[in-house]
Amino acid sequence: MKLLKNTWKNRSLLVMSLPAVILLILFHYVPMFGLVLAFKRYNFSLGIWNSPWCGLQNFKYLFMVGNTAWRLTRNTVGYFLLFTLVNTTGEVFLAIGINEMVCKRLAKYFQSAMILPTFISYIAVSFIVYAFLKNETGILNRMLTGMGFSNYSFYLKPKVWPAILTIVKAWKGIGYGSVLYLSVLAGIDQELYEAADIDGAGRWQKIRYITLPLLVPMIVIMTLLGLGNIMHSDTGLFYQVTKNVGALKSTTQVIDSYVLDAIANSTDYGMTAAATFYQSIVGFIMVIGTNLAVRRISPENSLF
């Protein structure tokens, strides 16, 4: 009753919230109910709600037949861990490097260049990667044949793609990611360094004993918050950069690109729905878990 009264008094604020609430309901909440599709046999003419139920059959296909579920999970989680490790390390290195540079003007220019790849679409990235890896005329293959090796068909060799994708991801994300750590470095009390100077600490010692320990909380928080997204991947990276080539799917297909592929080709919605259900549930557990962890370390950084 009190709530109703307060809401009526602040009805203008409610009106201002309405457009956002409507969009949230239409595009976030209604699709949540679409997940029931995981337990149904989808029929195009009957639609989502009227298609017949089929119990756990879709999950049976996904988890029991072949190794689809295992492959998708391994790739999704594996790439996530690999990218987190490489990018976080790179971001911290870069932030410290930019921070230590004496010529601040130059550092600004360098930083602008490093952030730029973040804003390039994955379509463009896939064109660029292709120019490097293409058979015969690609830059890398030119270099290989120039050094006397034979041409390497990158787009047929699944083994090398974890490395390629890691490099692309690092190139695209490290510069931008370092901005956050740089802001932490800017907030460090300079007196700490002055005190270390008086004690005769060198540059490396200052980095090792002052800078790095002060960065650790942010590293931990960012990693934990990132873990909430463990089941989601950059679809552009896995779908466009690999050109969605069949030969590469064993090491490059993740849940998101699998689902996209299925929608684009309108195949087997049942198994796909089961995969998205699995993705949503595991993602939910991960977000809740990591947020509880973050709240214990640093309450002001947790989502709830």
Binding site: H28, G34, V102, P117, S121, I123, A131, F132, N141, I263
Partner: protein, 307 residues
């Protein structure tokens, strides 16, 4: 004491220079590595296709050529249409998104508004759980009828993260007393928001707006799934289509009569032509980026401090 200290800092500085040089060199190399691939696109778009065929992709082509750009001009109509579509969806989605989200964030920032707890939960829950790509696609196409509609690319515009960043910004930068005194002067919430709070949100609106605009400009996935008619094809989808049709032609080259194939090949963008089209799609972002850099660096930091 002071001379001793001077000597100490001086020796420190001379020792530093060697380290500084290598550090600067290393950072410079990395910065160059970030730029070079983009430079490659530019160089290839000005290379002649024969030199690409013979020497491969290179930063130093044997022969320069403007043919790719003539090709882009000749491609004309569809490219222009796609440019228009991309600009329209980017502007519409960014403007609608910013207005909707800033109003919402203002309401959530007002402590006198009791319902804000429930509304915050409604917002935050979308970060925890989602219906996933497939059900989103099916709901939007079969129930809302957004298949082949540009509204599918424009509308879904409420990001919980962005609303939280805006709300935090309002709480930190718009003093409660300003709002209270405006209220005493008789201003209603709408006026307070549009005339006082909204203008004060400029930095965060610029950073989030830029992020959102880049996101829409670069998005290919939604268009790839929803859009089928050429008149609604945005730039990124056009690039995919061009790539796909080339692959199709190359794979089926034996089935197409030789004379016709020759003709098709002449009209088909070669490597340089593709890079030139790519550059027209990248261009606006590269031009806008320097102007927004200070905003999004600041905006990102504000958001990270309190989620």
């Amino acid at each position: 004491m002071s001379t001793k200290q001077q000597i100490a800092t001086k020796s420190n500085r001379t020792k530093m220079t060697a380290g500084q040089y290598s550090l600067t060199g290393f950072m410079g190399l990395y910065a160059a590595a970030c730029l070079l691939p983009i430079l490659l696109v530019l160089v290839v778009s000005f290379s002649s296709d024969q030199s690409i065929q013979q020497k491969g992709f290179s930063f130093f082509p044997e022969e320069w050529s403007l043919k790719a750009w003539q090709y882009v001009l000749g491609y004309g109509r569809q490219l222009l249409v796609s440019y228009g579509v991309t600009i329209w969806i980017t502007v519409a989605s960014t403007v609608i998104g910013l207005i909707v989200m800033s109003m919402f964030s203002y309401a959530l920032s007002r402590s006198c508004f009791s319902l804000r707890r429930q509304l915050s939960f409604l917002l935050l829950f979308t970060m925890l759980f989602s219906g996933g790509q497939l059900s989103q696609y099916l709901v939007e196409t079969t129930i809302y009828g957004l298949k082949d509609s540009l509204w599918a690319l424009i509308l879904p515009g409420v990001s919980a993260m962005h609303v939280i960043i805006m709300r935090t910004y309002i709480q930190g930068n718009v003093p409660e007393s300003v709002i209270e005194s405006a209220k005493i002067d008789g201003a209603r919430e709408y006026r307070i928001f549009w005339q006082i709070v909204f203008p004060m949100m400029k930095p965060t609106l610029a950073s989030i707006g830029f992020m959102k605009a880049v996101g829409v400009w670069n998005d290919w996935q939604k268009a790839y799934l929803y859009i089928s008619s050429p008149s609604k094809t945005p730039l990124q989808l056009l690039l995919i289509r061009i790539e796909k049709s080339i692959e199709f032609l190359l794979q089926n080259s034996e089935q197409i009569p030789a004379a016709e194939y020759m003709l098709l090949q002449q009209n088909m963008p070669q490597e340089s032509g593709r890079m030139a089209i790519l550059l027209t799609a990248l261009g606006p972002i590269m031009i806008a980026y320097p102007f927004f850099q200070k905003y999004f660096v600041k905006g990102l930091t504000v958001g990270a401090v309190k989620g």
